[in-house]
Symmetry: C2
Subunit: 423 residues, 2 copies
């Protein structure tokens, strides 16, 4: 028996899964490209000093460290570590390429590695999918974050979503307005749980965190629409961004200003976005915002304007499977070319070549004869059509194409049949 295993928390992406993932990635990549975001790839590992201290103490523990080659490694020394996200590598790229034309709009779809405790649907290797605009403070860059998420989800058929939008400065004004300027982080920590625990739960938490009943009732009044002193500028900025997103074609019903949205407040400096699905499939599938302080972490320069958004691509793969939005075939092969006998094999291969030249995906059976068995092989793999070329067909320069689901048969020259198949 096999005495070989996968590393903990990892998986093989078998062909049926990979075909679907590639379809999703191609769709997303095309949407990104239509907005001028161009692909970047960075190495799987970075120098250890590039990564340490960037993700907090908890994050640091989850970084996979690579042993030095040679004598240092034998002493347990480490010089490199696997990529933990796509943002620190982007900041490194910007620092190392000071002459790069700005704005630099890049998309990046690559795996990252985190030594988290593995659990259902959570792996130690997973893909991240980010777009960012570096070097532009224009609200167009913020609006594009909304528009690419909108267009990507629409293109994937995940149409029941809502993009929630808020502003870091609006939240700061909100904390100030309830007299909790120095407890902003605490207020946001409680608010962040609104989706999970509801208003009553948040109230309980705020009281436990030392907020007064009066502060809590003021908070709800502001959240429900009362004018927040000092938030005018932030709200005006959000209105501009949302108008630009509308101009870009975003459906107004799929985006909303939400004063409770509090995500990732540690480094966001302006607008923040989060996308949730409506209905039974709750939870975030995308998030981002403006983070004008982060990109200069290595360059030591002043703040560099930056805004970006991340699609939760692993979650999207999973949800699309659950919601039946993925093609239900295990294979991308369209035709299984059976081999009737060694005498007809050449004719079969020539027909297969004709279909392929028309763009059709044809696997040729590696068995000879016993067509019933070859048909079963095709059908158990989920290949929709079989091609048959017996002695009569071979003599006439024809083949038979059979739809395994309907039993329907077409007979003709391979070139004709290719166009029937949409090739």
């Amino acid at each position: 028996m096999a005495k070989v295993f996968l590393p903990k928390g990892t998986r093989d992406l078998m062909p049926a899964t990979m075909n679907r993932r590639l379809m999703v990635i191609d769709t997303v990549r095309e949407v990104f490209a239509r907005y001028g975001f161009e692909p970047l790839e960075t190495p799987a590992f970075e120098r250890i000093e590039t990564l340490t201290g960037k993700y907090g103490d908890e994050g640091d523990k989850l970084i996979f460290k690579i042993l030095k080659r040679g004598a240092g490694g034998e002493r347990g020394e480490v010089d490199q570590a696997l990529r933990y996200d796509l943002t620190v590598p982007l900041a490194r790229v910007m620092a190392m390429n000071p002459g790069i034309p700005l704005p630099f709009k890049r998309s990046q779809i690559q795996p990252v590695w985190r030594a988290d405790r593995p659990q259902k649907g959570r792996y130690r290797e997973f893909y991240q999918c980010d777009v960012d605009t570096i070097g532009a403070s224009s609200p167009i860059a913020d609006a594009e974050c909304i528009a690419v998420v909108h267009d990507a989800l629409m293109a994937l058929g995940l149409t029941e979503f809502r993009i929630r939008i808020n502003h870091r400065q609006l939240l700061a004004a909100l904390a100030k307005a309830i007299g909790a300027e120095s407890e902003e982080a605490s207020m946001l920590g409680a608010l962040d749980k609104l989706d999970k625990v509801g208003r009553i739960g948040v109230e309980k938490e705020l009281i436990e965190r030392g907020f007064s009943v009066d502060q809590v009732s003021k908070l709800w009044a502001y959240i429900d629409g009362a004018t927040i002193p000092g938030a005018t500028e932030a709200e005006a900025e959000l209105r501009v961004i949302m108008q630009l997103a509308l101009d870009m074609g975003v459906d107004p019903d799929r985006m909303k200003l939400d004063r409770t949205l509090a995500r990732g407040l540690d480094y966001y400096t302006g607008p923040v976005f989060e996308t949730v699905l409506d209905g039974e499939y709750s939870g975030s599938i995308s998030g981002g915002g403006r983070y004008d302080g982060l990109i200069s972490m290595f360059s030591g320069k002043d703040d560099v304007p930056a805004v970006g958004v991340s699609l939760g691509i692993e979650r999207i793969f999973m949800l699309m499977e659950e919601m039946g939005l993925m093609p239900d075939t295990a294979t991308s092969t369209q035709v299984w070319a059976t081999v009737f006998s060694e005498q007809t094999r050449s004719a079969t291969l020539e027909a297969a070549a004709t279909l392929r030249a028309a763009g059709i995906r044809v696997a040729v059976s590696t068995r000879v004869g016993k067509l019933g068995k070859q048909f079963k092989e095709a059908s158990s793999r989920g290949v929709p059509f079989v091609l048959v070329c017996g002695p009569d067909e071979a003599a006439a320069g024809m083949v038979v194409l059979k739809n395994l689901a309907t039993g329907e048969q077409l007979k003709g020259e391979a070139a004709q049949l290719a166009s029937e198949l949409g090739g």
Copy 2:
């Protein structure tokens, strides 16, 4: 100044490079899929015991090792290592999935990592690109290795190539025929240098290795076409494979039986293939063969028939650049939408949305006004068209599209112009 560096031997793949690489990978992947090879991805790292001892002592030293998390890691213990090739992971997948339907035809295009001394064009992270058919001894599987390489190179425009074909058993018979049965490896070691050192160089090397002048002259006679005793079966097999490849559409001028081809003899057991470019760009760009003993390394079962071929994708990227086969644009963005003023911005964004919906890639300027500067920005990035929407155009529901190379201008509704651009 930036105090941050890339790890030794690695590089960032910037957008201009990535656009070209993705184009090549998409082309290759599509050719693979047309033959029924479906994509597989395996994790970046494997358990250390899966990899050690598989690549020889020299190879073992080049494996990047990952420190254990927790206390073990603090003592310098290692439990995982980065993928070194795509074949050992495939053998692991086969061992862990004994129920997988055979033949299993997979393609895999992923990076591998080797701590080699970096040199020009050689990196410590590089992509491999393999197709393999596991579980079929049919010569169709061998012929498909030839056909996919042929079709992929043709599709990429690398048309001046020759696929050399030989057979492990023919080489064994050749060694026996010159009385060097137990010196086969030594004979092949010398023959392998034929391309580099020519016949005189190989002769010299053979003599140094202890072969007699008589053995050397016999060797040339066999290589030049004399019948090799005991090679009949291998030659018949190669003739079948080459006929099948012809049936699949392979150009006969681009494949040839070559009795001197000796590649990677350590694990190949049957036919072997190698592709070289003709003319000034010499050297191998693809290689493979049948290796019936390798896949069972983890399963402990009997030999599993296996044949595969690897495209030297990094070398192909490099050669295509050198040969001018890559698109000469630095960007895949087709239109740079300038913003005349804040008043016309909405109209500009709507036009951009119309172009995008027609499949055109449009980046919107994040600047406002000073169109000359915006034009320069587009042209310095290599974007071929600029879109202009001034107050008159906005009022008329029109835009102007200018070809920056020719100066030609088109004015019309965005939807019309989209079809002019081929959207």
